[in-house]
């Protein structure tokens, strides 16, 4: 019994204490910027479960999903191609370094010029920001494949697509997954920012509107919504990671045990 209860206690202990402190501290508070927990939860339901869910949350999430999916696929495909070729790697390195270092939000004004204020522009921003962690990690992962494995593949005549499929991708997978992990928060951030500038709908747009109208409780509920989305995405990712990399974690556990 203790074995089950103690993790639950640890997981819920601090959050409960913090919420209680928050509740007690704001009981008599009149500061309009500080929300009260009960009010916030009510507001959250009222604001987000209605028209806004279909009108703002779903389009935002759709753009996020489309953008990051394209970024991940593009990053892996390009990364494998560049990672396998030493010359191509040297050729692209400085340009990739530049684009990785460029803060992606500054591309929004430029893409809005070239592509207009469309969904395509917002998805492109997400792609252009989220592709770099995946791409660079894939290159690094492919480059670092075990040379014994590579030579074994060669002497067994495994080449071309088969080598990529059965040797390169599996051995680069931990690195690729690390890249995907870094790219997801970037995708969420860019989803929000691309809606804060030049948009008429979406989560980022709504939150900015609430702020401009001094609708403080609604604004807080928007921040809470973003937090929940971020949390859900990171949980979902953990689930995917533990399936894709099950063999890898198993291997690590064995190594650590010995």
């Amino acid at each position: 019994m203790r074995k089950i209860l103690s993790p639950i206690g640890f997981a819920l202990g601090l959050p409960i204490v913090l919420i209680v402190i928050w509740y007690v501290a704001t009981l008599g508070a009149t500061n309009p910027f500080v929300p009260k927990p009960v009010e916030l939860v009510q507001e959250f339901g009222a604001v987000w479960f209605g028209d806004r869910f279909v009108g703002d949350v779903v389009p935002s999430l759709w753009r996020f999903a489309a953008g990051t999916t394209i970024a991940i696929v593009l990053g892996i495909v390009l990364g494998i191609a560049v990672g396998l070729n030493r010359g191509l790697r040297a050729f692209t390195e400085p340009v990739f370094e530049f684009f990785r270092a460029l803060p992606p939000p500054v591309l929004i004004p430029i893409l809005a010029l070239v592509l207009g204020r469309t969904d395509g522009m917002r998805i492109s921003v997400i792609v252009l920001g989220a592709v770099w962690p995946v791409l660079l990690n894939t290159i690094e992962g492919v480059r670092a494949t075990d040379s014994v494995q590579t030579e074994t593949s060669r002497s067994y005549g495994i080449r071309g697509w088969n080598r990529v499929r059965f040797q390169v991708i599996p051995s680069a997978m931990p690195q690729i997954i690390a890249g995907v992990r870094q790219s997801l928060p970037v995708g969420i951030i860019l989803m929000v920012i691309s809606e804060m500038l030049y948009a008429t709908a979406g989560l980022g747009y709504s939150i900015t509107q609430f702020q401009r109208q001094f609708a403080v409780p609604e604004m807080w509920s928007g921040i809470l919504m973003l937090g929940l989305i971020g949390y859900a995405v990171s949980m979902l990712f953990k689930l995917v990671e533990s399936r894709v990399l099950r063999w890898y974690h198993g291997l690590k556990d064995l190594e650590n045990a010995s």
Binding site: L14, A101, P105, V192, L197, M219
Partner: protein, 278 residues
Amino acid sequence: MAAPDTVTRVVAVAERRSRRRRLRPRRLLLGLAGIVTFLAIWEIVSRTSLLNPTYFPPATSVASTLVTNATLTGFWSAVGVTVGTWGLGMLVAFALAAPLGIVIGLSSFLTRLTRSTVEFLRPIPSVGLIPLAVLALSVPLQQSLLIVVYGAFWQIFVQVLYGVADVDTVAMSTARSYGFSWWQRVRDVVFPTMLPYLMTGVRLAAAVALILTVTIELVVGTSQGLGYEIGQSRNAALYESTYALVLFTGLLGVAINLAVRFTEKRVLSWHQSVREDA
């Protein structure tokens, strides 16, 4: 006695190898060719009106605008605001995250107690806090710092937690049985193990902090740094200037990356991961 001869030969081979790696003329040339190709494609796409040249000016005119900009004091004061906010944000985030990470990471009780809260707070996108910062704080620097510190803090904090978790338990017990105090254990056992992780955290945080600094300038427009200038020049239809500023922001990012990586190499020169690829 063949031994001294062998040793000198090994040293000579190693020296030659390291010199060869440092120069790498082929890589350098290919890299340059890559940059030139990129700029050429940009130039051609614009000159041939594949994309409207008003909205997508050619590389050469953007470069000349950048050079003209560099003679103006307004440009450099914008750079100063951006770099200043970035630096201060990094400093505060570091000062908060490193000690907290060590204290929490060293106590398994605190680690378990805070895990769920950290897991929930960390993925909150820091840009979501922008409206809050605008409403609750009135000084532009404070607004930027709230967001930048929040974003950079988690990067460093989580890496420090990983680093402390990686400390060898045998070394820790040995230190304890030799009567090391808590502070001595932190300094002599935990710190060296944690340092590579800490540096990784700093590297990630530096990039995040720059993104957030520029974003706030762009979205809020109260802090008059590079992001603000980008928005302004676009609204004034000075598109070449917009591109020049974006280009410069990217170069600033590269400079920051290089500086952080250089520091990392210096600080970790004794560490295996750096020694191997040096």
